[in-house]
Amino acid sequence: MEVLLYGIINSVILSLLSLGFTLVYSISRLPNFAHGALYIAAGYIVWLVINKLGLPYPVAIVVGILATSLIGALIYRFIIIRIRGMEISEIIATYAIGLAILEGLRWGGLRGMTFTLPAIFPGSVILFDVSVDYQRIFIVGIGALTFFLLYLFTHFNRIGLALRGIAQDERAAMMLGIDSDMTAIVSLAIGSGLAAFAAILLLPLGNIVVEAGYSVLIYAIAVCIIGGLGSWGGAIVGSFIIGFVQILTERFLSTHFQMVVALLAIIVTLLLKPSGLFGKQKELEERV
């Protein structure tokens, strides 16, 4: 029971972490390697707003999400727009930006265990003989709600439909008057906002540490690759696979193996079926 419960929680956490990454890649084909950095930056912004400006928690959450979205939009508007389409430059540039943000934060004083966010719902409850805190239950609920809202947004809203149009066929969408760069900016802003959202939900479970930024990036990549880059359903399935395998290895081996699982998953998936479980890429594009 414990495995099942924590497996579900862990899976939802993973899918929340990877949601922003998947969204950006599926819409603008941009591997946003700064995702983990944006996640930590969002947590730090919220912490600053609460502890330095003394504003209430809800205000801090809104400020954090908006500020991170703005950072994402600015990164696209001023840097990535110039190297659009050159995949390797995109990877190197976003990775460099992410590294700069993370190490900049570390230099700016984000060290040690002193940075924590308060839980939205403190306390815990006994569910089927397993102790679970409210925050984790809240995460599962909000996670499910987020998926549902995103589905509605992309299927019944002008901007959402434009995003999907660009994702499916960029040229045809441009002919119909959808601005490719504008949608890419919007997608990166939403993706960063989702990273911030995940940070606010998940960071109260631990401390805000720079190292988490790197592991978040790896988890996001692992989940997306297993599910197939750019496929949302795939990302959710992928996070459930990794989530449960992680909990199982943690129970039967040791916690050291959590990251090994994610890394091995990436390598094995790429070797056996690079397009992932639900990827739509053509065979020729990814392997010879």
């Binding site: 390797i88 540039a93 460099a96 990549i221 990251m259 090994v260 790429l270």
Partner: protein
Amino acid sequence: MEAPKTEMRRKERIDRGIKVRTEGIYALSSLREIIYLMGPRLLLIVGLLLLPLVLELVPYWKRVVNIMCVYALLALAFDFLANYVGLVCLGGAFFIGMGGYLSAIFNSYLGLPFYLSIPLATILGGVFCTVLLLPCLPLRGVYFAIVTLMYPLLMTRIIEAFDILGGTNGISGIDSFPNQYVEHYAIIIVTLLILFALRRFVNQDIGLVLRGVKDNDQSVRASGINITTMKTLAVFVSALIGCFGGAYLVHLYMWAGISLFALDFSIIPIAAVVIGGGGTLVGAVVGSFILVPLSEALRDLGTFRIVIYCAALTAFIVFKSEGIMVYLQRKYHQFERWVKV
């Protein structure tokens, strides 16, 4: 160069006369032409060979020369794979770690002296890395980049999780070099040799085939050449270079640990190649000769220097993607002028 006054002008680039004259056998006929040809190369070779002697004045910086050359080797390996074969390998740390740990095992566990353990580690490391990367070779673009980025991370975690090879403490007590001149010149000479050997290699027929693999692998296949063999060969060459760097580094530090798989060894060579100019090979060396001393000078700033690297890297990718060496070569070989259209 003044800015164009109207839109009816464009910049024209013409090869210098001396460049044209030095392309044939007639280059040998005058001292000026010979100097024009040999100057830049001799500057690099002699400069690098004299560097340890000059730095006797400031002994602290002598160690930096060694590190500089190790990064230059890695940058060469990256440049060769990325710009001549089209495989973007973000796993420089994988080569370093592999060569380093093998050399540490040979030296510390089996008791081989450094002049045996380094070559053995280089060759065996090259073989191991190639075999481990073999399944990834059919991948390309983003996929190959991500896989190779994950390999060093995976190795770190495996060593941590199974607590093998000294675990997080690493393997210590490895022999150092007999004296500091062996230490300096071993790496400097190898760096120069590899630089000029690679330049030759890519201009042979096989280099042409490799570039074909990069530009259009289907047509290479259509010519009856097995591209996987070609890619394997290229990865092996690259892994050899990287593993030598790792094996050397272990003897320099007298210690091998999981920091050999650190991201520094992946990101700094890439930055060096981008800044120096991709595809020139010399650019990779020049790039690391700029970046590594810079990083040493900024040591007091702590992790802030990574921010500076990344800013420089991004700026070069976005605004000056040709890099320093391509720019300098153009200025050296050509002159520019504004002409009416």
